[in-house]
């Protein structure tokens, strides 16, 4: 078993599995239970400035998208930052950090966009002994209407300004948490880098409405007669998070800034993928809100075995390992040719590959083999699009075969071994 020791902007933890700033990290009670279960670190639930307490709705704050067997695919929420008193939170943080010196405790913050407000809260956090701060520039509801959260995160100049205040007024390691509710996440990340951030974390939740109750004819969930958009997270958002993560990881202007990956991480496999695309560690929220803290057990065991299988001796070797494989479309090799092929031994003859290819793609799968029901790829029509692979219910039944040194029956041309992308292509008038 490989030791999963992890170092993130100087914070040492026994493993790279952190809890994201959210209800699971709202109180010492929860955090103690999380550490007992084995979590490496926590981003404490976002604190606001001193003063009247935050007021949450007393109606439903969560909504979910379910699979047919009620597996939870996506979660949405309209919760605000912590509604507990600032002093109580700070006192608890001091105690927790004392009790768990080997775990990471970072405090998430969100106060009005005024220098004094940040100065005040930073002083208080420094006194707790916490390992750092995470600036919540992501919360998409409730706080953003008050000029905080995503309202800051969506304007790169504000991101840079607030980040630099934090660096100026404290010695705390500063992580900037980014919102996905923007067009190009690199602009926010670059602003954080310019402001002097030690790291960025992403993604926060995505603006969303879960659905409509068609009997009552109102959006759902709703608080009484009406509802409001909320933040979407959980397994469904993982592909979006991975994309944004990799954009930052391979962006020269972000200068290799450490990244904490968030968004739909549910098991060790997800965690490994985030790390391979550039995350130093991962944060989890929905998965523990679905199954409880105990899932960290399988994450630790699974990741450790995976590293051993890959011949890696530490998590550091995984970080960013797959980043070079991500590029822009115009760099893809247009001479690379594959054809789908169906393994007749594992084919169960459901015909789904045929009907989708016939109705929606390239009419490249036939329905009979020697007069019997059976499905076969017509190489002269197949463009290697992967749709049949994706809809086939049998794993590895349909695979893609690479063509080398042979004629592509579709084009009648020899497959070239030479790399040629769009920028080099004769059909590209701009080339």
């Amino acid at each position: 078993m490989i030791d999963l020791k992890s170092t993130f902007i100087g914070i040492q933890t026994p493993n790279p599995f952190w809890l994201a700033s959210a209800p699971p990290t709202d109180k010492a009670y929860n955090v103690n239970r999380a550490f007992e279960a084995g979590w490496g670190g926590v981003m404490w639930k976002t604190l606001g400035e001193a003063g009247p307490a935050i007021v949450n709705v007393s109606g439903p704050r969560y909504g979910a998208w379910h699979g047919k067997d009620r597996s939870l695919m996506g979660l949405n929420n309209i919760e605000l930052i912590t509604d507990r008193d600032l002093e109580i939170n700070l006192t608890e943080i001091i105690q927790v950090k004392k009790d768990w010196p080997d775990r990471g405790v970072v405090v998430s913050l969100m106060v009005p966009c005024e220098e004094q407000a940040w100065k005040d809260i930073l002083m208080r956090v420094e006194d707790t002994g916490a390992d750092g701060i995470e600036l919540n520039f992501g919360c998409p509801h409730g706080m953003s209407e008050r000029g905080m959260g995503a309202a800051v995160g969506q304007v790169p100049e504000y991101v840079e300004m607030v980040t630099s205040w934090c660096k100026q007024h404290s010695d705390l390691a500063t992580i900037v948490k980014l919102t996905p509710n923007i067009t190009d996440v690199r602009n926010s990340a670059r602003a954080a880098v310019r402001g002097g951030a030690d790291a960025v974390s992403l993604i926060n939740t995505i603006n969303s409405i879960m659905g409509v109750d068609l009997d009552q004819m109102k959006m759902s969930p709703s608080v009484g007669a009406q509802g409001a958009h909320g933040g979407y997270c959980g397994p469904a958002v993982k592909p979006i998070a991975l994309h944004m993560l990799s954009e930052i990881a391979r962006d020269a202007q972000c200068k290799g800034i450490p990244i904490s990956g968030i968004g739909g991480v549910t098991d060790w496999h997800d965690a490994a993928e985030f790390m391979a695309l550039g995350a130093t560690n991962v944060q989890v929220c929905t998965a523990v809100m679905t199954y409880g803290f105990r899932i960290v057990d399988d994450m630790i065991d699974g990741l450790s075995r995976y590293l051993a299988d890959q011949g890696m001796s530490s998590v550091d070797q995984l970080i960013g390992a797959a980043v070079p494989s991500v590029t822009d479309w115009n760099q893809l090799d247009l001479n690379y040719v594959v054809k789908a092929q169906i393994d007749q031994n594992s084919c169960i003859k459901c015909g789904r590959c045929h009907i989708v290819c016939e109705d929606t793609s390239h009419q490249a799968i036939s329905t009979e083999i020697n007069g019997e029901r059976g499905f076969e790829v017509k190489d002269e029509e197949c463009v290697g699009c992967n749709l049949c692979v994706n809809v086939c219910p049998v794993e590895n039944c349909i695979t893609l075969r690479e063509l080398h040194d042979e004629v592509d029956p579709r084009t009648g041309e020899m497959v070239s071994a030479e790399y040629r992308n769009w920028t080099q292509h004769p059909n590209n008038s701009m080339a």
């Binding site: 699979g67 047919k68 067997d69 009620r70 169960i348 003859k349 459901c350 015909g351 789904r352 045929h354 009907i355 329905t367 029901r373 219910p393 049998v394």
Partner: protein, 449 residues
């Protein structure tokens, strides 16, 4: 006369009330646990929604199986039922009684993948049950055509034909010798498959379309002549089933304790108090089909101590599916193969044993099984409906029909168990009735023009 033979010579001396009320209840209640709404959706979601689906192709009535299952997965249970019933008006009975393991569920591609087919029968049951609970109506009648059609027999074939004709605007009169409609759904299928009076519930739903009247207690050939029907109606459909039981052709077959399985089941299906049925100690069933399995299990569940099914050929030759055989075995029924009955042991007019030879097996020794009750389940045959006046072309002793279910006599259609080439299943009878109705409709419309 020994005491035991004295007892046996008297039918009423069979032990009665072998079980208590709760045990009868348990043994004859619904054999399947229906899906809950949640489990139905989960099961429906397993369906791959195959292209040109094999399950649909093998269904004698051609139900759009992937289509209705997809509707269940979208919580459109009523729409699913509509899809089912539009092809098979007895979708509810078929969901309970079809040997799905040899039809749709056998063909399910999931068998190849993981040996666990979609439970199509239970899903069909779920949809049709939801629909009947909701009181949804799926059919309307076309404008009255002015044509009248006579149907003989209110079994699956007759009712299916009647319903389709009624939707097409024709008036239908069914002549049925029994007191209740449904044919073997009411009088023949195993009690635990059709629990809760389902046959009559389904009949009522079918008749609710209107335009169908049933004349009960009217046996064609006895109470009314075939010729009268031909004169008074524009077309005639025969769905008379197989009224006669085959005989063993052995000495002593008339002795008491020797019975036709279907007659006994008929009584079982109608009796109020199951405890009043005569039940032997050592029961022998002769046959290898669905009827043999059904009587063996039901007599066992009535409390018979030893039940042996004797079949003259090998296990593979049995008409009963492997699943049905396994079910019988799990119920404690013994099954012997290569057992050809060659003689009956009779004492005081009462059966005491059955003598078997090893049939076509290599060994020709004979042996005797003790029996105080013997059921014949070796098949049914066509009962003659009327002497002399009308002759149908036959094949294998049954009425010969073409693809449209036309008999050799113009103006007369037939379907269900009474015609040749079928598989003696309710679902096939329903399909025959449906095809005949479509053919009758086209013929009547054409003649009009």
């Amino acid at each position: 006369m020994t005491e035991s033979t004295m007892h046996r010579s008297d039918q009423s001396a069979y032990a009665e009330h072998l079980l208590n009320e709760a045990e009868y209840q348990q043994n004859f209640s619904d054999i399947h646990t229906p899906f809950s709404a949640h489990s139905a959706v989960v099961e429906a979601d397993r369906c791959y929604y195959c292209f040109d689906a094999p399950c649909q192709k093998i269904c004698p009535t051609g139900i759009d199986v992937p289509g209705f299952i997809r509707m269940i997965s979208q919580n459109n249970d009523i729409g699913a039922a509509g899809k089912i019933l539009s092809e098979n008006i007895m979708g509810g009975t078929c969901a309970r009684a079809c040997p799905v393991e040899t039809l749709c569920e056998l063909e399910c591609v999931r068998n190849t993948q993981d040996d666990s087919p979609i439970q199509i029968g239970l899903l069909q049951r779920f949809a049709t049950d939801q629909a009947s609970a909701s009181g949804a109506e799926f059919f309307t009648r076309e404008a009255a055509s002015g044509h009248r059609v006579a149907i003989i027999g209110a079994g699956p074939a007759g009712l299916s034909c009647a319903h389709r004709l009624a939707t097409l605007g024709h008036e239908v009169v069914i002549y049925e010798s029994q007191e209740k409609a449904g044919g073997l759904n009411e009088y023949g299928l195993a009690a635990y498959k059709m629990a809760g009076g389902y046959a009559q519930q389904e009949v009522a739903a079918i008749l609710s379309i209107g335009g169908i009247s049933i004349k009960h207690g009217m046996k064609v050939g006895e109470n009314i002549s075939f010729a009268e029907l031909q004169t008074n109606y524009d077309a005639v459909f025969m769905g008379v089933g197989l009224g006669a039981s085959k005989a063993l052709q052995l000495e002593g077959e008339q002795a008491s304790g020797v019975m036709n399985a279907v007659d006994y089941i008929h009584r079982l299906r109608q009796i109020e108090d199951l405890g009043q049925l005569p039940v032997g100690q050592n029961v022998v069933v002769i046959g290898g089909g669905m009827t043999a399995i059904d009587i063996a299990i039901q007599i066992k569940r009535l409390g018979a101590a030893n039940v042996t099914m004797a079949y003259r050929r090998s296990q593979q030759d049995m008409n009963a599916s492997m699943e049905e055989q396994e079910f019988a075995l799990s119920e404690g029924v013994r099954i012997v193969h290569w057992a050809q009955p060659v003689g009956l042991r009779i004492e005081q007019q009462m059966i005491t044993g059955v003598e078997f030879s090893n049939g076509q097996g290599p060994d020709t020794d004979t042996y005797t099984l003790p029996a105080d009750m013997l059921f014949k389940a070796i098949g049914q045959s066509l009962a003659s409906i009327e002497s002399g006046t009308i002759e149908f072309a036959k094949a294998n002793g049954r009425i010969d029909v073409d693809a449209q279910r036309r008999t050799s006599q113009p103006g007369i259609w037939a379907g269900g168990d009474c015609v040749a080439g079928g598989d003696d299943l309710a679902v096939s009878a329903v399909q025959d009735g449906k095809l005949a109705a479509i053919s009758i409709h086209h013929t009547l419309i054409q003649n009009q023009a």
